[in-house]
């Protein structure tokens, strides 16, 4: 059975979507989401558009505005998804427990895997609809130019990954915790940490680490071995890749700087043992973010399935 057919056959997906799309709720969420996006972009776009009109046709400015609109649209999408995803996934299993329907489901032939993946897929279907609905707003940027196809694809892949990861976090808390409230609080805490906490922490680290790095790499202390340099770079890469916003910015910087979507060459310091070390190719941080997040999501889903499957002791 194909993946899609399996999804279609999963009764939980149909039930969840039926419930979610019924009534005004889905419509209100979609409208509010699009209003936030269009409102935010309008606020940023209008002053720039006025300047652009005043200065006549300025290609560089138009491209700059285009890139800005695109970046802002992606950022706003990311922030709104970070708000919505925990909200609709943190109650997935816990609410079944609270409504005392989980027991009934567990006596049917529905497997724990079908229940957890069904809940996740139903939530993702709605979230992907939000991402898709924002595409016309995003494409305003294409009128101005300046946005590369690679950037659009990478942004889409990263947004989808962030949506999957945040949903997996919500489903995970909802499976291992008994109460929807506790699950929601923790899912939002993780989401907030991802959106704001980690970047702040990274900024702090960078502020401290930059002078050190400058001393090590640029100042040429001379005795830093390439191994130490590689380890330090590895740590920095993991930190950068762990957050979608930072990873996206770093990816964009690499794309602009070296026109490479996949990797970046970092010169290593020379040392007596390695007088002429070759440049170190480092994968672009978006790759790290996508792979890391998907791996983490897979682990969280697995743990969730186990938690739901386990009979009461």
């Amino acid at each position: 059975m194909s993946w899609i057919a399996k999804l279609r056959k999963n009764p939980v997906v149909l039930k969840e979507l039926r419930g979610r799309m019924r009534g005004r709720r889905a419509f209100v969420v979609l409208t509010a989401y699009l209003m936030v996006l269009s409102g935010g972009i309008s606020l940023a776009f209008l002053p720039l558009a006025n300047r652009s009109l005043a200065s006549g046709y300025d290609l560089a400015l138009r491209q700059y505005v285009g890139k800005g609109i695109f970046g802002l649209a992606v950022l706003l999408q990311f922030i709104t998804i970070s708000f919505i995803a925990p909200g609709i996934t943190a109650g997935a299993i816990a609410s079944e427990r609270e409504h005392q329907t989980l027991d009934i489901l567990r006596t049917t032939l529905l497997s724990a895997r079908d229940l957890v993946t069904g809940k996740l897929m139903a939530a993702l279907s709605f979230l992907f609809l939000l991402l898709l609905a924002a595409f016309p707003i995003q494409s305003l940027a294409f009128l101005m130019g300046g946005v590369e196809l690679e950037e659009i694809v990478v942004a889409a892949v990263m947004l989808i990954t962030a949506t999957v990861a945040l949903s997996a976090v919500g489903v995970f808390f909802s499976s291992v915790l008994k109460r929807t409230l506790a699950s929601t609080v923790l899912a939002y805490a993780v989401s907030f940490l991802t959106v704001a906490g980690l970047p702040m922490l990274l900024m702090l680290l960078l502020t401290i680490a930059t002078p050190v790095a400058e001393f090590l790499f640029m100042g040429g202390s001379g005795d830093l071995s390439p191994v130490t340099a590689v380890v330090l770079l590895g740590i920095a890469w993991i930190l950068v890749s762990s957050n979608p916003l930072i990873a996206a910015l770093a990816t964009e910087a690499i794309l602009v700087d070296s026109q490479s979507l996949w990797y970046y060459l970092i010169p290593l310091p020379s040392s007596p043992q390695f007088p002429n070390p070759s440049d170190l190719p480092v994968p672009s941080p978006w790759i790290g973010y996508v792979l890391g997040s998907l791996l983490l999501s897979a682990v969280l889903i697995r743990v969730s399935i186990r938690a739901v499957r386990r009979p009461e002791v």
Binding site: K15, R18, G19, G23, H99, D103, I104, T107, T108
Partner: protein, 318 residues
Amino acid sequence: MSAIIEIRELSKNYGGLAAVKHLTLSVDQGELFGFIGPNGAGKTSTLRILATLLRPTGGDAWVAGHSVSLDPRGVRRVIGYMPDFFGVYDDMKVWEYLDFFAACYKIPENERSRLISDLLQLVELDHRREDFVDKLSRGMKQRLSLARTLVHDPQVLILDEPASGLDPRARVEIRELLVELSRMGKTIFFSTQILSDVAEICSRIGILEAGEIVATGSLEALRTQLASHRRVELALLERGEEAIACLNALEGVSNAQLTAGNHTPGRVHLEFHYSGDDPGLSDVLAALQRAGFRVLQFREAGHDLEDVFMRVTKGLVT
């Protein structure tokens, strides 16, 4: 008849608390078995173990040959379980509720519509098909819940207090449904605290107290078991006090006394307990007549289930 539910030495402990203690019980195919006991007797724990929701601490149970510990999926195929609450889904219509659970039991899509119509007809909810589940009355929800347990045509229904919290009419309706389902060949194992439920419809009952079975059998069999403690009522023309003294002197007679609140003019009503067989009881009557008492009425009072229940249980809870 062969046993379809077999419980052997089943135990369930919660920490240091034993909710079910070495329970051994079997229910035959097609039986309507009532599981009665006070709150905290271990009924729900036993039912949840049978429904594969709870892991037993010791012993095992089999439903249609499938072990609840080793083959829970096999058990789930053959049981329909109804907990003592109704799990409500908001935003779900009556037919959608049944459709969802039918899909959970892998019933093919093209068979579901017919199945749902049949089930709704059975529980007399076909006129509420398009209504939202949370708009139904409690009794209707309970009937829908019962329909839900039937979507995969299970051999055994495990029902935890199906009539609890219902008004008298809804209770009678559920009771009639259970009888109907039993007639259709389903084995029904249900728990209740409402004694009249079991007295009227069950083919066999089990009385559970403090995690242990204290009595099991048909209501008739239980009455016979209790025959050693039979209660006899009699009416005399006169000399009540003398008769009490005479009766208390006879072997096997105890608690002879005037019946409270029964004052037919010209008659004295008495009652006593007798522990003995039928010839012995006949001798008691003969002794009274020999002593010159003019007996108008001499009859053994039937045990109702309440009597049986009160006698076999001691008011213990775990």
